[in-house]
């Protein structure tokens, strides 16, 4: 067996972030992560501890940095989309949607109603899947082991639906500029209906296990309080902001993809603690299901992508008979389509908050600059404020309640 050496973390680089007592050695600096199951990814938290009380928490991110923004600059608009799946790997459909909406806004491209409705159904299913992963892993962190198994059981049904429509469970790249990749197969409706039928009962089961469970309440109520002003100052959005009493949901305030047609509520809580975040997300499961059901009921017939051939490739059947179709197909897949020399910012409500894409074109077929405003980045930045004075065990609960995805933070 090799000998382990205990190494002290030097205070030097963090001098301006820790208290005086860390310099004199009165408090202890401790690494939590980057390899730690409760950090939900490759996140390192540098903790200054006084006994078991967190005095300061310094998040260290970047372990999953893959240079997606730089890479996208070197690809055409169509090809760059593949990278969007890999950002927030719990919200692949949502990332696709944010990106294609930005491209559509930049080049002014129309989307037919059937494609819009499919986008809504699939992004809402994705929201449910994402919240299920959050619920399962939060349960795991707080010793409610069985939650993880139940949540992943239901998530599997959603991933099967994604596989049905796109051929992929997670890295879907299903939405394309101007519509979706291709129409959904005939089995799609039955599969979604089956999910709509079984899922409400399953949410009741989760709530029966957790919502009034005294152990769950003990770990969550009053832990990690975040008030609305601090949340906005730190750019916190999504369920975390709504748990602090701010009613701000881009699906309601700035409807996109036809969200204005559907009737749903935005759950808002006022306490701002870990438990409020739990309540908001569980309610969102029900609301998302309502949207899926309505969108499926009124799913219009018709084309699933725009017939603007300058941006959307022609169907296979046309290529054999039409010269123009052949030219368009060839030009689109060799050169790509040009976008104007201008910039747009387009944002959607991802399961974690405002997911924005800043997209700048330079008149050519490749984006000049893509910036991802990712919700987890800001939602994590507030953690050093809200964990102060809590125990290390509470830090786990708070971190779980922020629902961060490191792929989303590090890009």
């Amino acid at each position: 067996m090799s000998e382990y050496q205990l190494q002290e973390i030097p205070v030097g680089p963090y001098r301006h972030l820790v208290s005086e007592r860390a310099v004199s050695g009165e408090t202890m600096l401790l690494n939590m992560g980057p390899q730690h199951p409760s950090t939900h990814g490759v996140l390192r938290l540098l903790l200054e501890l006084d006994g078991e009380v967190v005095v300061n928490c310094i998040p260290d991110i970047g372990f999953l940095h893959t240079g997606v923004e730089k890479n996208m600059e070197a690809k055409t608009y169509q090809k760059a989309e593949v990278m969007t799946d890999r950002l927030d790997y719990m919200n692949n459909m949502g990332n696709n949607l944010a990106y294609v909406m930005a491209v559509e806004k930049l080049v002014d491209l129309d989307v037919p109603p059937r494609a819009q409705a499919l986008r809504v159904i699939l992004t809402e299913l994705q929201r449910i899947a994402s919240h299920l992963v959050w619920l399962g892993t939060s349960g795991l962190d707080l010793a409610a082991m069985s939650m993880f198994l139940y949540c992943f059981r239901e998530r599997e049904i959603i991933l099967d639906i994604f596989e049905l429509v796109s051929g992929q469970r997670m890295m879907v790249t299903y939405f394309r500029p101007g519509g979706v990749w291709r129409d959904v197969p005939v089995e799609f409706e039955a599969a979604v209906r089956n999910f709509i039928k079984i899922f409400p009962k399953r949410i009741d089961e989760y709530e029966a296990l957790l919502t009034k469970n005294p152990l769950w309440l003990d770990r969550m109520v009053g832990i990690g309080k975040l008030d609305a002003a601090t949340a906005l100052q730190h750019g916190v959005t999504g369920p975390m902001l709504r748990a602090s009493g701010v009613n701000w949901d881009l699906r309601k305030t700035r409807p996109y993809a036809g969200y204005e047609q559907y009737d749903f509520n935005v759950p808002v809580e006022t306490k701002g603690d870990t438990y409020a975040r739990y309540i908001v997300r569980v309610q969102e499961l029900r609301e998302s299901l309502k949207i899926v059901e309505q969108a499926l009921n009124k799913l219009p017939l018709g084309p699933v992508h725009s017939d603007n051939r300058k941006f959307v490739p022609p169907p296979r059947s046309e290529i054999g008979t039409s010269m123009e179709a052949l030219i368009h197909h060839f030009k689109l897949w060799t050169e790509g389509f040009p976008a104007p020399k201008a910039s747009v910012y387009s944002a959607i409500e991802s399961p974690r908050g405002e997911l924005g894409v800043y997209l700048e074109g330079d008149g050519g077929p490749k984006p000049y600059r893509v910036h991802w405003r990712t919700p987890s980045f800001d939602n994590l930045s507030v953690i050093s404020k809200i964990v102060k004075g809590h125990l290390v065990a509470d830090l786990i609960a708070i971190l779980a309640s922020t629902d961060i995805v490191l792929g989303d933070i590090d890009r």
Binding site: Q233, G235, S343
Partner: protein, 170 residues
């Protein structure tokens, strides 16, 4: 342009002499580097732009003046408005005053811009790199920074690509 936004832009024009442009319903106001903190404070306090949605930069290399644009995407929740401020920064003097006193979320975002573009923010409370390792050299999102993939060499362009290939040559 929205009426309410038009009024705000007009005030910004009077106060800071700012030019603006509009594209697909989005308004971008150009602000001089020295006036950005005042403009952000004014928008936050007088017009309820309480959320700094995004903050990033764009590199227009080889253009040097201004080489960068630093972008502040602001959202007003109460009025449901968006406004983008763009600050041109010239290539010689890569410095901007920090906006962390106005918006706490600028803290990490400014660290990211420093990390990726090398623009320094004066008065920043924690000026370290954020995504790249601390000992990293260069600023990856600059346009003169190579992407890092290998260009495929063919017979006709072997030497041309070999010349600019980033590997140690004897």
């Amino acid at each position: 342009m929205d009426n309410r936004l038009e009024k705000i832009v007009k005030v910004l024009q009077e106060k800071a002499g700012a030019a603006y442009e509009e594209f697909r319903g989005e308004v971008h106001v150009f602000i001089a580097p020295g006036q950005i903190v005042d403009a952000l404070t004014f928008l936050r306090d007088e017009h309820q732009f309480s959320l700094l949605s995004a903050m990033t930069a764009v590199d227009y290399w080889p253009k040097q003046d201004p080489r960068f644009h630093v972008i502040y995407q602001l959202t007003s929740l109460t009025q449901n408005l968006s406004l983008q401020l763009r600050v041109p920064v010239s290539g010689g003097l890569l410095k901007l005053p920090t906006a962390t006193q106005v918006f706490q979320s600028a803290n990490w975002r400014e660290r990211e811009i420093f990390d990726m573009f090398g623009i320094e923010f004066e008065g920043h409370p924690d000026p370290r790199r954020i995504l790249m390792p601390d000992d990293w050299e260069g600023h990856p999102l600059r346009k003169d920074y190579p992407l890092g993939y290998e260009e495929p060499q063919f017979t006709f362009n072997f030497e041309e690509i070999d010349l600019r290939k980033p590997y140690a040559k004897e």
